[in-house]
């Protein structure tokens, strides 16, 4: 076998692309969970975002509008979840699961006449000068807008929860909704908001799948990406940068094992295909092990219904 067949800068560049849908969806879920809401409907919102964005891109020939509508699609589905869990106080776990089933079914229905069509290509943005740097240029500066957006979104969310008043309010509500309510914060309203944001990110992640990464519409095309995103949030212990690392490791190992397979390496392939899950969990657990216990825990009101109106 011949390792020169692997182009490592291309490998890293494509792992960033491969990880972007999961990263976006997980980041949205992180914001939602920080406010104490567990939305298991990520998969459903993703696939609904995928079909919404796809339909709009096909009809308008404008991928930017498509991405916008994949956000709107995700938010639309999230708003159902928000109404059901925040106003009618339904169980979040059950509602989230139902949302996934609903999203999968609805997208299949809407997408029936959209199979076999190719969306308009979404252009890469080669950043002037930087894109021409050897190796680094290919890895970092020749991506499309959504990839850059996802990285900036991670940085933004990090500072949101660390430095901003609004971020602290979200966290307070997630830690103890009764106290936050007593302090005068609008628990339901803010949760409504974070659920919608979570939906928008999940939808965008789905749109990235159907418009850039695959790019086509097929039923059930998210194939579990939403569940991986959910797991990543937990293993990243609700920290944006760990989420980024986790998503990139997951994408990276996935592609690396494909590359090693294509080289005809004599490693147990079953082990190789398991490796993205094992390594990602391993690294994130290792990172968590050195932190103090408080910073690792889930928001204390996570998944609990707020009755204190």
């Amino acid at each position: 076998m011949d390792f020169s067949d692997i182009n490592f800068s291309l490998l890293i560049a494509s792992l960033i692309v491969a990880a972007t849908p999961i990263l976006l969806a997980a980041l949205g879920e992180l914001i939602t969970e920080k406010s104490g809401v567990l939305n298991l409907g990520v998969e459903g919102m993703m696939i609904f975002g995928a079909i919404s964005g796809f339909i709009v891109t096909i009809e308008t020939k404008n991928p930017w509008l498509g991405f916008l509508c994949s956000c709107v699609g995700g938010m639309l589905l999230a708003s159902i979840f928000a109404v059901v869990t925040q106003i009618f106080r339904a169980n979040q776990v059950a509602s989230g699961l139902a949302l996934t089933l609903f999203g999968l079914g609805l997208s299949a229905l809407l997408g029936q006449s959209y199979t076999g069509i190719k969306p308009v290509a979404f252009p890469d943005m080669h950043i002037p000068i930087l894109a021409d740097i050897p190796i680094i240029g290919i890895i970092l500066f020749q991506h499309d807008f959504i990839v850059y957006f996802s990285i900036f979104a991670v940085i933004f969310v990090y500072f949101l929860f660390r430095n901003s008043h609004f971020g602290l309010i979200i966290k307070a509500i997630g830690e103890n909704h009764d106290s936050a309510h007593a302090l005068g914060y609008k628990v339901i309203l803010i949760r409504f908001f974070t659920i919608l944001i979570g939906g928008a990110f999940a939808g965008l992640g789905g749109g990235y799948l159907s418009l850039v990464r695959v790019p086509q519409w097929t039923e059930g095309m998210t194939a579990g990406a939403g569940w991986i995103a959910l797991a990543l949030v937990v293993f990243a212990s609700w920290q944006p940068f760990r989420l980024l690392i986790g998503a990139y490791i997951f994408g990276g190992i996935t592609l690396l094992q494909l590359n090693l397979q294509a080289l005809g390496l004599e490693i147990n392939v079953a082990l190789l295909s398991m490796s993205p899950y094992l390594v990602t969990i391993g690294v994130l657990v290792f990172m968590s092990a050195r932190r103090n216990k408080n910073s690792l825990e889930a928001p204390r009101s996570l998944g609990k219904t707020f009755f204190g109106l």
Binding site: S14, V214, T218, Q261, A262, N268, S273
Partner: protein, 355 residues
């Protein structure tokens, strides 16, 4: 007395017509959505052919996205309980669930695709897809410029291994310098993963991609990268007008109609193992693209015709196994048992088959 006679006549007419109206209920279970434009799509085409062939006499029902697990048992049990007389289970992994459910419903007829376990009320059917892969393997060997052919494989089951081997032997015969790069992705249907695997193969220099997974993602990726690919189970040229060379199309309709007819006539038998290929129309070579030179198109067609008539066998010696040990002597053809249980690569393919 007369009235009674008329009454009984009317009644019996009713009963007969009643039997006719619900003569048979046939259930189908699919591993993915029929909208995949691949494997499941063709099974659904077969189901619709049954609908059409028998008009109102046969009612068909189907369940999509049925996992190859206890869920399959649950779904088939449900189908049998709600009156299905015959059930087509259309994926390899339904094998044990079919056998289990068949034990519980001895009067329901089961047809299991691509498996090898039968019972008094279970028959299996499979297509000799490797015949089609011989034809497209030849085309791939002729079309590659980099001499690297990528192959995206699903699970290491005999059917998939058989396909890789037959494609490799044909490609190697067409082009002695050809090299195969195989990626196993352990799923039948995951467009994103299939796309990743195809991109990886292309990055490593493959300029013709073959696939044994169900979605059309690979065709889309090939079109974008400017390399060639083949339709899997269905014609996929709409996904890659330039990339699409030809397709192996699964033709289930004649078999489904025949078996349902036999079930209605009472001539259906369990324990049968159907294994048909190009000759019987269960494997169809799709339209060949203009991108293939005319002489190669003709060679491929001759190959297909030869296989159909039985003059050519895709596995004809001399062929060695991967480790160099002899498998088929010169002129010897592979026996059906070895083909159905194939778990080894032929000589020349690199890498291991996952266990």
């Amino acid at each position: 007395m007369k009235i009674l006679k008329i009454f009984s006549l009317v009644l019996s007419t009713f009963m007969v017509s009643g039997v006719f109206a619900s003569d048979m209920k046939v259930g189908f279970i699919y591993i993915g959505p029929p909208g995949d434009h691949g494997w499941n799509y063709q099974h659904d085409v077969g189901r619709q052919a049954v609908d059409e062939a028998f008009g109102g006499k046969v009612e068909t029902v189907f369940q999509e996205n049925v996992p190859e697990s206890a869920d399959a048992e649950r779904v088939m049990t449900q189908m049998a309980l709600s009156g299905a007389d015959m059930i087509f289970a259309t994926s390899f992994g339904y094998m044990d669930p079919v056998i289990n459910v068949a034990k519980k419903f001895p009067n329901v007829k089961f047809e299991h695709a691509t498996g090898y376990k039968t019972a008094d009320n279970v028959s299996t059917y499979s297509a000799r897809f490797y015949e089609g892969r011989t034809v497209i393997g030849h085309v791939a060997g002729k079309m590659t410029k980099s001499n690297k052919i990528g192959y995206v494989a699903s699970y290491p089951i005999p059917e998939v291994v058989r396909g890789i081997n037959s494609a490799y032997l044909a490609a190697k015969a067409a082009n002695p310098n050809v090299e195969f790069k195989v990626i196993w992705i352990f799923t039948w249907y995951d467009p994103a993963k299939e796309a990743d695997a195809a991109k990886t193969l292309i990055q490593q220099g493959a300029d013709v991609i073959m696939q044994h997974v169900d979605s059309s993602a690979i065709m889309t990726v090939a079109e974008e990268a400017g390399v060639y690919a083949f339709g899997q189970a269905s014609d996929m040229s709409e996904f890659g007008p330039n990339a699409h060379l030809t397709a192996i199309i699964n033709g289930w309709a004649p078999y489904y109609v025949k078996r349902v007819q036999q079930a209605m006539d009472g001539t259906w038998k369990g324990g049968e193992q159907t294994f048909d290929g190009i000759g019987a129309g269960m494997v169809i070579i799709g339209n060949m693209s203009d991108k293939i030179p005319a002489n190669v198109r003709k060679e491929a067609q001759d190959l297909a015709d030869g296989i159909a008539s039985g003059d050519i066998h895709p596995f004809t010696g001399p062929v060695n196994k991967q480790d160099g040990s002899p498998w088929l002597a010169s002129g010897e053809t592979a026996d059906i048992g070895t083909l159905l249980g194939m778990n080894f690569y032929v000589e020349g393919i690199e890498g291991d088959i996952p266990q």
